[in-house]
Amino acid sequence: MAELSGKYLVGVYDDDDTVLHAVPKLRKAGVKIKEVYSPFPIHGMDEALGHPRTRIGIAAFMFGVTGCCCALALMIWTMGIDWPMIIGGKDPISIPNYIPITFELTVLFTAFGMVTTFFVSNGLGPGTHAHPRFDERSTDNKFVMAIELGRNSMTVDEITRALRDSGAEEVNVKQF
């Protein structure tokens, strides 16, 4: 297997439906798929590939709670404790007046925290000059399936045939 490490078979598809239906078929046939690359999201693809559901929503919620607490803490401290003043007959600590800013900061923390998590978890970042390694057309009009040969027990010919049978227009070999 050592000579196969870093060697990939790349199936290029013309159609999003074809690639979506190819994934369960190939997995059933015993092919281990590394990833599918597409110019737009294909609904159901992550489930077909067996990716676990993203937990980014939980992170977003935690960031939101942090923002909400920070906003309330800031206003209660400044208005109620550090420099208490009665303005417009309102209590120094009057929660109803704090609602707009609490809401805004909750949204701000959630949005920025979630997007930062998204970048970090996907390895995206400013100055990352990566590009589609397997086929550059995958950001234009092609749907690309990458299969790492070192992780598959099937032979190159078997996988190539399976890819062709599932609707791949081209099957290329890439070595990194």
């Binding site: 597409s38 110019p39 999201p41 400044t78 920025f112 990352t128 950001t139």
Partner: protein, 477 residues
Amino acid sequence: MHVTSPVREPLIQGGKTYADVTEDICRHVEGAPTKEWKIAFGISLIVLAYGTVCLAWTWWEGLGVWGLNKTVGWAWDITNFVWWVGIGHAGTLISAILLLFRQKWRTSINRAAEAMTIFAVLCAASFILMHMGRPWLAYWALPLPNAFGSLWVNFNSPLVWDVFAISTYFSVSLVFWYIGLIPDLATIRDRATSKVSRFMYGTFAMGWDGSAKTWARYEYISLILAGLSTPLVLSVHTIVSMDFATSVIPGWHTTIFPPYFVAGAIFSGFAMVQNLMLITRVVYRLEDYITLEHIETMNKVITLTGSVVGVAYITEFFIAWYGGVEYEYYAFFNRMTGPYWWAYWAMMTCNVISPQLFWSRTLRRSITFTFFISVVVNIGMWFERFVIIVTSLHRDYIPSSWTMFSPTRYDIGDYIFSFGLFFTLFLLFSKYLPVINMAEVKAVLRSTSAQLPGKIAGVAKVRQRGTAEPAYNKDKE
């Protein structure tokens, strides 16, 4: 499963393939600037330069150069601010609320509308800075203990709420827009021929590779950002309206302001989107993507929000009479028949009557008429803010203070500055970034295109599907 609705017209015309979408939308980004673009950009720069001189003079001399007086202490500055913030709202509405409602027609216009939002909010923010008088102390609006000890900003004040609302709105909109741009930037990066553009687009594409895992997370965060932006956009204009509503000035002290301002914002925002889209589609030859169907749908939104605004005008008038407060009643009666009657009736004609013409399908689908009405609506919404602000202020509680407001050349020049800024930024955006979201258009292409399902990208084969095909699609195939 892709379903083509038999009752709706296709949203993308011309039998496009995925490759065609990339080609058509990247064309203007990759090509040299056109003559029209250069002329428009030149004019915008001249306007911006003139406005900058006026603005510099405003700051140099102080706010005394404006036509404000002791009674009318707020006029064009706050009018322009509210107007620009309102214009920004349509972008977020299209990108967030319509995404939550799964409206596919948003895909062709959301990118440009979001860009419009960001530039409009920048213009609005410039008026906040302008009317501070000493803009170099703008940071005093932030919650920092200032030089006099630990004296903080007043968190009970709607003006401080504005600082948080506008800055949050701007930054979240910017993030939302940028996240949407990344896949398209990657497309341009992978097509780029020159080293410079490959480097630039590569830097901003952040290494996007379009893997299934990334797309799944991308879609998830887009949905959450839309869910966050929806109440955010409502909160921003609600808070802007509270700048007025929490006061005791007759004509401002109105509980109807929050929903009324939000409806007005969407109304004027959609009118501006129409103006920009009608020009963009012709200049960049994108008629197949921004179709009559899109224009008609936006006109329906304009009719709806215009009607809401009309109802709000009548309701506040009714309440002024029914509430029995003589100052309130006088303020509204004075708006109609007082010295600013022309502004009031301009507002009523532009905002209440003109959009009702869109009940006619012929007019709704006429490009020239749509452009004309959109300009009229924008003018009308500017007058609405002017009427609310100036007519309420110019008659004080003490008749000896009664006065009129007339703009000086610096009031006008500072407004011109915002137009120069807006159009310069929009033209730069439309040249260097794709004006239509390619990834999203491709995602809805099959179900909304005139191209028959199964023929896209030249693949004409019977696909295996888990569920039955709708009868309509079967007939076509």
